[in-house]
């Protein structure tokens, strides 16, 4: 396999920045059976992320000890992080009840994001919008269900659109805005925030990697070497930055999910 295939699709002498095609992956086994055509690299990453989360949780929590040993310690740090930074501040005292969902979601998203900097994988699965949509939809359905269960259908909309204690005239503006942001925009912003961050991050790393490859390896010239060097350094910096963004976006995704659940359970906040 040749490098141009990996990095830049340009076949001419001109440098060509990586475009949308770096997200477009064909079947993982092009010569395999036709029924496996749907299995692409992003789906391999999803599967790996799921397997790693399950395996890690199994190893850490499968047979938990009162006095923790080894992997259980690490797992507990992760659990306590999600519990104390996400579940309890966002949902409150009964936040612990939602830990199974929040913990699983956080680490599943985190691993799919981090695949963007893992050698060979090098693609955040969440940069394919289908995955953020699935995750955000689950949260959205849960939020609607819990809201109606705890506040009643009428109560839910009343609490949302007409929160008490405001001047009456304000409701004319507030009610439609709240309805729009809570019911219609919320799942989109939730999904797209994650998708767009991963998408842009992957594009940035790919761009700098392509620049350094093109100017340092493909078409090495005295003039271009400087540009290639900058691209090389930037690739490293952006990779570090992406690790941060990928972790942060996984955190924000569950933070928002917890906040939506908390809002459904305790509308007064």
């Amino acid at each position: 396999m040749s490098a141009p295939h990996l990095l830049a699709s340009g076949s001419g002498d001109e440098f060509e920045a990586p475009g949308l095609h770096i997200f477009d992956w064909g079947p993982l086994f092009p010569d395999g059976p036709a029924w496996l055509d749907w299995f692409t690299k992003p789906l391999l990453i999803v599967a790996l992320a799921a397997i790693v989360v399950i395996a890690f949780s199994w190893k850490a929590f499968g047979n938990p000890k009162l006095v923790p040993r080894g992997v259980q310690n690490i797992g507990e740090i992760g659990y306590l992080f999600v519990r104390d930074q996400v579940a309890r501040p966002m949902i409150g005292k009964d936040g612990d009840r939602w830990m199974p969902f929040l913990f699983s979601t956080f680490f599943f998203v985190l691993l799919m994001n981090l695949a963007g900097v893992v050698p060979v994988l090098q693609l955040p699965a969440t940069s394919h919008i289908a995955l953020p949509i699935v995750l955000a939809l689950v949260v959205y359905v849960m939020m609607l269900f819990l809201s109606i269960k705890h506040q009643g259908l009428v109560g839910y909309f009343k609490n949302m659109m007409f929160p008490p204690g405001l001047p009456k005239a304000l409701y004319i503006i507030l009610a439609p805005i709240e309805l729009l942001s809570n019911i219609i925009l919320r799942p989109f912003t939730h999904a797209i925030r994650l998708f767009a961050n991963m998408f842009a991050g992957h594009l940035l790393i790919a761009f700098f990697a392509t620049v350094s490859w093109w100017f340092l390896a493909e078409k090495l010239t005295a003039l271009g070497a400087g540009v290639g060097l900058v691209g090389f350094v930037m690739t490293i910096i952006m990779t570090a930055f992406e690790i941060f963004v990928q972790s942060l976006q996984a955190f924000i995704f569950v933070l928002l999910a917890a906040s939506y659940i908390g809002g459904a359970l305790h509308p007064e906040h």
Binding site: H21, D24, W25, L28, K41, S57, P64, S104, A130
Partner: protein
């Protein structure tokens, strides 16, 4: 496995890639993967660790409570011991006092008894002396008779003409006798 690393090959041949259009296979596979993660991790493993953490909290709290109870008990026991010690000290001091009092009483009694005994002895002695004196007196009287007879003999031996002379003789004799008796008494006492 070529398509693990090369993205563009297929893409260029097919139509434009639309990043905002979700792929059906990804939707389905993503849902299934997420469901499996939720079921295994969420239903099985996370509740297990949650339970363990709660048990640990309980164990630590229980341990602390037990330690507190033990400390309280120890304090109570110490207090009890102190009270007992105080009591014992009090009892000891009262016993000592009692003993002292009793000792003093015994000594006083003994003194009294000794005094009484002394008195008794003195009285007895006095009585003895008195009796002896009486006895002496009695024997003296009987002696006086004999002596009188002797004196009378003497008087008779001399002239009995002058009564004044007679009485002088008797007086002298009696004085002589008294002087004898006194000297005798002085010797005996």
């Amino acid at each position: 496995m070529t398509n693990l690393l090369a993205a563009a090959v297929v893409a260029q041949e097919t139509e434009e890639y639309k990043p905002l259009a979700p792929d059906t296979a990804e939707l389905i596979f993503g849902t299934i993967a997420f469901a499996i993660v939720l079921i295994l991790v969420g239903w099985k493993f996370v509740p297990a660790i949650r339970k363990t953490l709660e048990e640990r909290t309980d164990a630590i709290e229980g341990g602390l409570k037990r330690a507190e109870a033990a400390q309280d008990e120890a304090k109570e026991t110490l207090e009890q011991y102190r009270a007992k010690l105080r009591e014992a000290q009090l009892e000891a001091s009262s016993l000592r006092k009692k003993a002292e009092e009793q000792g003093a009483a015994i000594i006083a009694e003994m003194k009294e008894q000794a005094q009484a005994e002394a008195n008794r002895i003195r009285e007895a002695a006095k009585a003895d002396i008195e009796a002896e004196r009486q006895q002496a007196l009695a024997s003296l009287r009987s002696e006086v008779g004999a002596l009188s007879v002797e004196l009378a003999g003497r008087v008779v031996g001399e002239s009995l003409e002058d009564s004044a002379r007679q009485s002088r003789v008797v007086d002298r004799f009696l004085e002589e006798l008294e002087g004898r008796a006194r000297s005798q008494e002085q010797i005996s006492s």
